[in-house]
Symmetry: C2
Subunit: 259 residues, 2 copies
């Protein structure tokens, strides 16, 4: 196909984690304008219904730590934007969180191509929703840190404790290694851990563990992208202990945390 007189633009869209109905209305609307869509392995095929006439191109990255093909994707984005009015780059979850967005934005900027980013639901939020375990809690859970356990060279990174709750985006088979590294860096063996694999999908699986028993979860979540919540927010919310008085908010919140 010939190049356009002026290049088109690229819209990065967060497809949300898994299920097609976790994309935003804005994301779905921009997708409907697309002439070409470059999509990742972690996006739901049902999203094609929003842009049935677009050219869909599988760029097949799995996301966590694998650099294979990133430069090819960058180059393809530029090429497609020179041929099409609107090109969508559809990424699982949110483009700004572990999405390799930086490299692709830099390539487009170098080529003088306009871009827009439409945010999406990142997997940690879907895992929290699935388990009904809020990532922040009153009093004891005022910060949450999102990390990926894998570095660019595929080694594991699990440093010192950061926030009240740590959420790791990782492969299910790495759970044993993560547990060992977290304990080595000072986390207690009885720290609560909640693992949700394929969060946001219809076949999501959630399981509860102590940190020192986390390795056993590898079998259950093997071969599935997982969200691992460590710390305060890994605990289930307990029922409030008594009928609530309208003028007193504090006791129920504290009771739920203490459970």
């Amino acid at each position: 196909m010939a190049e356009r007189a002026t290049p088109g633009r690229v819209v990065f869209i967060g497809a949300g984690p898994g299920a097609a109905d976790l994309i935003t209305l804005r994301g779905a609307a921009r997708l409907a304008e697309a002439e070409a869509v470059l999509f990742d392995a972690l996006t739901d095929p049902a999203l094609r219904e929003h842009a049935p006439r677009a050219r869909w191109i599988d760029v097949g990255k799995r996301g966590f730590g694998c650099a294979t093909g990133q430069a090819a994707i960058d180059a393809l984005l530029v090429t497609m934007a020179r041929r099409h009015r609107v090109v969508v780059r559809l990424k699982g979850g949110d483009p700004s969180v572990f999405g390799r967005l930086e490299e692709e934005l830099a390539a487009l900027a170098a080529a003088g191509i306009d871009s827009e980013v439409v945010p999406g639901v990142t997997a940690a939020l879907a895992a929290a929703a699935h388990t009904r375990r809020p990532l922040t809690r009153r009093g004891r859970g005022r910060s949450v840190s999102l990390s990926t356990a894998m570095t660019a060279d595929a080694g594991l990174h699990a440093g010192a404790r950061h926030a009240d709750t740590e959420v790791f985006y990782m492969a299910g088979r790495q759970l044993g290694t993560l547990a060992r590294q977290l304990q080595a860096s000072g986390w207690a063996g009885d720290t609560p851990v909640c693992v949700v694999s394929r969060a946001g999908c219809a076949d999501a699986v959630a399981s509860d563990h102590r940190l020192d028993g986390l390795a056993a979860a590898s079998v259950l979540h093997a071969g599935r992208p997982a969200v691992v919540t460590v710390g305060v927010a890994a605990r289930a919310v307990a029922a409030a202990p008594q009928p609530r008085a309208e003028t007193d908010a504090a006791p129920a919140g504290r009771a739920a945390l203490a459970a």
Copy 2:
């Protein structure tokens, strides 16, 4: 209105940050089923179009740190669920992040009322999308921590450095206090800071600062909820410095970080 023979259920929905089209398709679909909707001050009135016949109840919390009325909201949720088949609790951003979800889930559990949580786009993701500044970066920005600067007693909390990038959810007028506390806890005065107020809304405002000059931003963002990004991810993504070779992804990423 009379109570039902069996109570209905409550669906917590993340409305997304501001603009009505940042709700998910699932959130919009559940909203259309609602007979009653309890909504916060930070949700877009245009969302009413999804449930025009529902009873809309403004529970008017601003979210950050103010506990006034939480027990009343908990009690109202229970009362409404006993009268209606589907009650929606619509929260700005994502319900699991600084959304007081724990207290409301605990109250419903105590009353034996079913609940579901539909995730949404939290403000940090909308701020990153608006500025096209990914929250994670290759190599140097592998973790991001979300915190609220305010505690339950309305004091400021800005502890030791957590992650490569810290994102604070706060009121625009508190920027000077945050800057002082972060510097007192060891952050360098020349740390890059990006402030986005009303992220996700049509009238979002973004500004760049050094940490030691952040206080001056209070005027610009006064009276507006703000997302304050501190650290690696506060920097703009620079254009890749040269035409990209298809077999080499690394240089562009490093150059963008160094810029």
